[in-house]
Amino acid sequence: MSLKDVLSPFSAWKRTLEKPFTIKKPITEREGEDRYRGFHVNDIEKCIGCGTCEEICQNEAIDMVESYPITANKGDSGLRPQIDYGRCCWCALCVDVCPTGSLGMSNDYIWVTPNPDEWVFKPGIDEKEWKDDDKGYRRTEEAWLLDPEQEPMPVLEPEVRKNTFKEMAKGYQVTMALEEASRCLECGICIEACPTHMDIPEYIRAIRENRLEDGLKILYDTNPFSESCGRVCTARCQDVCVLGHNGEPIAIRWLKRYITDNTYEKRNEILGIGKPLPESDKKIVIIGGGPSGLTAAFYLRNYGYQITIYEKHDKLGGMLRYGIPEYRLPKEVLDREIKTILDTGVEVKYKVEVGKDVSLKELQETYDAVFISVGAQKGTEMPIEGMDTLGVLIGVDFLDRIAEGERPDLGEKVIVVGGGNTAMDVCRSSVRLGAKEVQVLYRRTEQEMPANDEEIEEAKEEGVKFEFLTSPVKISRKGDKLQVECIRMKLGEPDSSGRRRPVAIEGSNYVIEADTCVMAIGQKVDSEMAQQANIKTTRWGTFDIDPTTLQTNVKNVFAGGDCGFGPDDAIRAIADGKKAAYFINKFLTKKGEPLID
């Protein structure tokens, strides 16, 4: 032991003169760092209640709860996260996984309350001292745990597909499907958006787990047109997909197609079609063999009823056959899918037009129930001069002719009027028919176009030109060319649909020369048969039905699909068919009781 060792420790005394390390008022003198993970904040306007935060939280600290004043809506579950800070470990995985980026954490350093109940609260809804825009941990691009990019669908090159009606999308390969399926967050927001409420997360899970047979069964639980929908559905599910908020939505439609593409050969076997069904002596007639009618037939047949379909054409499929061109939905696919439905034991009477060949009244009296699903087959004509000029066609009739196998010569330049999916089908079919120049006229702007973005994009790739804010006012013929006189429009006040109403600009008329002009501005319902059975119709010509049960004023007559609610997409028609099957069954089994509890 040296003397130095005895004295040296006393040097520590010098520290008594130094400034202390501690600070007196930690809350005011020292703010939490920018990245500090304190209590949560939630931008409730951005949050859609998908529950991914709840899913990833390993402490089960997050519960999705109903939160006044938030209500459920399209693409919003109406729930908001409630966090239990007795469980939270402040790991911020919920923030890093949040698909909308609404969730964050404040840098509030110290907050304490003697009331234990206050430790469970809904950030963004319950008032707290910290604000949403305070500093604190927020999700950054580099820390985001999700993949915002969709697996691209292999398609034919624009130059190739321009010349053929061959199917454009080639379908996912196994690895692509697995990759895409693994992006799903299983939030289920899509289920509500789908008119027929397909259990999307569940069949995507089936893909992930390589249980395609189970996947097919799940599809057929709600949609017997899954194979067609996997190609042409308007995919409202994708519009609300939670991943679409900050990236590209899951390719739900392509995943559905993947299941059907890989199982169609064994479809009847997997679904057990052909096995004996419960037999009922009740008979049901379905008028119109489109998606809605066939769907109703499929489910009603599975309840055990005897089904007869009356079809005007010589083939089933309705608008799926006559309204959608081959390059989007090959007829072969449609045929095999309809065959599955018919294999359940459905009787079909082709080339019988109800209302002319047989009266509705008669059917209504002979059968136990009637489901009308005649669709909206009549194309709307524009109330302008020259609609009957040679070379002016109606969109649906045009597509009908192509579906029948005709390949009309349209000349060099084609003008398509309209902005919906039919207009897209018409313009893209025209390209395939050899038209050199195809121009779409639409009276609003691209933003307001009701057609799917994807369709618009693909049409552009194929060389279709778009002319917005313009509308034809007069069509005449000069020599072998059509003279389409148009007027420029501007957008005025929003109308009842929320879109801004187009207003003509006086004196802005101009003339476009063309060989053919196709009007694809909408369809109408032909409901003349209604009078025969005293069924009420609306002023738009659709059947007047109860929106929930689809029942008309005549008790055993139901109507749905385009003829019930006006022209819409296939999935809406399918949903109506399924709904009709449910309520017709209820109507027949519980005679006299109200259909809605």
Binding site: M1, S2, K4, D5, V6, S8, P9, S11, A12, R15, F21, T22, G32, E33, D34, R35, Y36, R37, T52, E55, I56, Q58, C89, W90, C91, A92, L93, D96, V97, M105, Y137, T140, E142, A143, L145, L146, D147, E179, S182, R183, C184, L185, E186, R208
Partner: protein
Amino acid sequence: MKSKELSETIEINQQTPTKTILNPWQPFWAEQKEFDLKSGKYLKIWHGPQHPGVTGNMALELTLQGDVVVDCKTHVGYLHRGFEKLMERRKFIQCFPIVCRICVPEPDYNEYLFAAAVEELAGIQVPERGQWIRTLVLEMIRLASLTMGLGGQAGAFGLVPVGQWGVAHRDFILDLFEELTGGRIYHMYIIPGGVRQDFPDDEFPHRVELVLQKLEKLILDIEKLMFNNAVFKARTKGLGKIPAEWVELFGITGTNARAAGVPIDVRKDNPYLVYEQLDFEMILGSASDVYERSLLRKEEILNSINLIRQIFKKMPNKGEVRIKLPNVLHWKVPAGETYVRAETSRGEMGYYMVTDGSEYPRRVHVRGASYTHAMALLEQLAVGVSIADVAGLMVSLQTCPPEIER
């Protein structure tokens, strides 16, 4: 106490293993000693599980003769939270926030080792900058842990100012962690695939440097107060000697082994991350007592400071810090097994992971450095030690009960 008896007991402590003792069916550390407690010669007391000298919750069942320990049994299980089992029911990403809780003073090693094991099994390559930041984080937390540990060591012998300085300076490092990771104690920063975020700004290395300078200044003071202190020397020199032969026998690693002159350091033996590109020497001692181990840890602090400076100099300025994982909610890791290890301030820590191709790890086993130090070894070292020195002895082994129990 009669001095003859005491010398006998001390002899037990000093005995070194010979070939006969190495009989695995009758190891010397499993010998049961019988004491006639009714004779009044002995006193049995519990040291822990609640005791400031016990770093966590762990109990020593001591049999005393006078104030000298004649028998010691270690009892663990007070801090068992079942992490390994919890992980089997959690998706890989959900394990990430819980692994750090296996060790309070050095959580980042758990994060790193878990991530490294998953990455190895999933075949993920971490971007270069991510690897450098990981190394930085690991060295920073080693620094924090050692600084506090040194304070704890002094505190256990009554030198409380060093304890206070140590904790205060650790807080300066935690401030840096708060800036970088968003958390002070549990950082949850090293995520499978890399690290969560890059530096907050370009000035971050400068702020780290300021803290390093503070620490260097602190070490000078600690040398005067602790290592050149007659009382500390008197109490610690010769206390808790670990014979070099025991290192392999007991599975001793880290500073405890190096203080006995056995060169074991995972950073050198099995370089991980970017340690191969860093220039440093293994720090070896020879005396193998409490004083030597403390001294080595002080050297380790200086070494870490040096390493952090090197890291800032050598790391790439730009680049990705993490790669995107597949959707973590359905992330499946291919079937396989691996053992990854790293050098913590206490010794070798390792993760043994088995996966079966599902979304959950099949089995994770955590090898904490303290597991071997605090249980079997401490039972041997405590014999013959004064009751007043037991806490100091325990701290010198840097026991960390949470990592014993996982």
